[in-house]
């Protein structure tokens, strides 16, 4: 069975730790992720800006990369959802469209894969910190990944999960939106960060590095010492902590 990692360009270039922790966490269950090297970007920046031809150029690398995979796992609900647009994008290229339909069936956002496919809700992690969770719009609202991160977080020992006020509101990232409409986006991220600060959480966790990069960037701009992590990083760190804890006791 071939399980592949769809790293996303952002995690590849800026947050490689997300890919590393995902590999290490899944290896504990005997799953060693393959990494087809031809993948680049899902094409979302171009697609959302209306440049579908350019988006198709990027999308083809993703379709090609995972053609012979059985499962494709990605640390982004947004990039996973992007694959759902592929069949419509390739309406005039039936061969690619068929491949796109096949790919759509096997792409999973990370927490969805863990909980729904593998049936794992408790990874045995311990993370004694106050944590708040931001549900990214594409993952939760459009892809429907809602209960999975909650189940995983609720099973982490020692973790205090504090609800984020107005959690479902967009953080203002929106890809190129943050550049084109920077003042509106800035107002949105300021509001989101304000809510994060209100919770007095030490850690903000989420499922999409785009949104987390946005919120973390603003928190850092204002010198607010909130640690921002992808859920997989938190879980892996928690699993290690738990192992050490057990070793110390033994």
């Amino acid at each position: 069975m071939k399980v592949s990692l769809f790293i996303t360009c952002l995690s590849d270039a800026v947050y490689p730790r997300v890919g590393e922790t995902m590999m290490r966490l899944l290896a504990r269950y005997g799953i060693v992720l393959e990494f087809p090297n031809v993948q680049t970007c899902c094409g979302q920046p171009a697609y959302n800006s209306g440049y579908w031809k350019e988006a198709r150029a990027a999308a083809k690398t993703i379709i090609t990369a995972f053609e012979d995979s059985d499962f494709v796992v990605t640390p982004s609900g947004s990039c996973a959802y992007m694959v759902h647009h592929y069949p419509a994008m390739f309406e005039e290229e039936p061969e690619w469209q068929e491949k796109a339909i096949q790919l759509q069936k096997k792409v999973f956002e990370f927490s969805n894969f863990l909980v729904e496919v593998l049936g794992i809700q408790d990874v045995g992690a311990r993370f004694p910190h106050k944590v708040t969770y931001h549900p990214s719009c594409h993952g939760s609202r459009l892809l429907g990944v809602k209960h999975e991160p909650m189940a995983l977080l609720n099973n982490v020992q020692g973790l205090e999960l504090v609800p984020l006020p107005f959690a479902e509101d967009c953080c203002g990232f929106g890809g190129t939106f943050a550049v084109k409409m920077s003042d509106i986006s800035g107002a949105m991220v300021a509001e989101k960060a304000e809510h994060v600060i209100e919770t007095e959480a030490e850690v903000l966790v989420g499922l999409d590095m785009g949104c987390l990069m946005n919120i973390a960037g603003h928190l850092r701009y204002r010198n607010k010492p909130v640690r921002v992590m992808h859920l997989v990083e938190l879980l892996y760190e928690g699993v290690n902590y738990s192992d050490e804890h057990a070793a110390n006791r033994a």
């Binding site: 270039a13 290896a27 171009a46």
Partner: protein, 504 residues
Amino acid sequence: MSTQQTELKGTVKERAELALNNDFLRQAVRFTTERLRSGKLKAAEEHGNWDEWRERGRQIRLHTIAHLDYYLGEFANNARENGVHVHFAETAQEAISIGLEIAKAKQAKSAVKSKSMVTEEIHLNQALQSIDCEAIETDLGEYIIQLANETPSHIIIPAIHKNRYQIAELLSEDAGETLPPETSVLAGYVRKKLREKFLQADIGVTGCNFAIAETGSIVLFENEGNARMVSTVPKTQITFMGMERIIPSWADLEVMATLLPRSATGQKLTVYMSGITGPRRAEDGDGPEEMHIIILDNGRSLQLGDPEFQELLNCIRCGACLNACPVYRHIGGHAYGGTYSGPIGAVLTPALQKNVAEWDDIANASSLCGACYEACPVKIPLHDMLVSLRRRKVEAGHDNALERIGMKGFATVMSSVKVYHSALKLGKIGQKAVVRDGGIRVKIGPLKGWNSYRVAPSISKQLFREQYSELRSELGQQAKEADPAVAARMQQWLTGRDGGASHE
């Protein structure tokens, strides 16, 4: 024929900036949208099975719009049988001329109006003034906006951008005495003032929430009772409606009456819901002697048969998408520049205006978060429509030259992993001059907007793809047998998928 002139100043970005610098506006809009959207969520939950009702509503709208010619014909025939004068107007100008002809024939000196977005769309008030017929808005919010000489900034709450102190100031000026900023006093003043206007008016102008094809009736939802006054006191009634307001039957209204007030304000039902079937009959206690219905196209029929936009006509104008929209919350309605604001306005305005270039930038004012779609009682995929608008703009060659070059570059880099990897390697070298502590703070070039609110992260010293082989061999050596329970579940998924199941 050209569409109605709309005062459009500057770009969305410039108009948004005005709003972003207006703390009164932002606080007022945030206060009310938060109240409305939490009310809506509560009402939907109390009602139960909300998504099933949304789907019912969507199906009714899809069916009606797919057979709009049939239902419009049925509606017009039945309304005429009830004694209504039914007029069809292709453009805003035509609707205005028909309305003015009626007003002139009645030698009307004044018209009282209940809330109607269609009359805002065609700028009826100015037209009536031009023939010396005073137009008086009688919805409290609309009255305030009229005094301020502004346009509504919300479909349901036209004066949402004003707080009660600003409203007290406006009404004090109108009253010629200082009124305290207390809602009951202010509403009391307007009520008294409007009472006289109702009695004097020659014409009553209404909008239309739903038009029932099977009986040729119109249905109005309102909270202040002013639409009842408008539709009973004056001798002549003119109702303006968009051609897509139709639903087939009263049975369908049950679904719509469940969805509309809950989505709009969180109410189970508005204080008044009026069904009007023709002018006053001999046995009626009140009602107009003469009733006209002007059915407006003005760009709506352009959406028929367009697979990406036909669903736009399903909109029931509840305003839920505005209340859910995080962009609207920060910039208010006027920044959108058109009669309709928020996510629905960002799509409807360019669509009704045949996607002319002047409206191209409005679709950019969205982060595509999908909150509008989630809030919509008839499930219109506004976030997808915004992307379609952006794509059509690019296809029409109305895109920004710099962006086009950037996107060409994107395609070149992303279509080949070799180019992609080289570009990132170059980036790693190039960023050395600006990276401090793993972050980039300079506010130049494309980073200006981003870094005005954030610190940008740097490209990692080692990309994930540069770490992979080592990681793979390390984990491969330690790899355990696959967990049997996990392996069994994966197998089960694969089998299910081959049987045609999807993971949604």
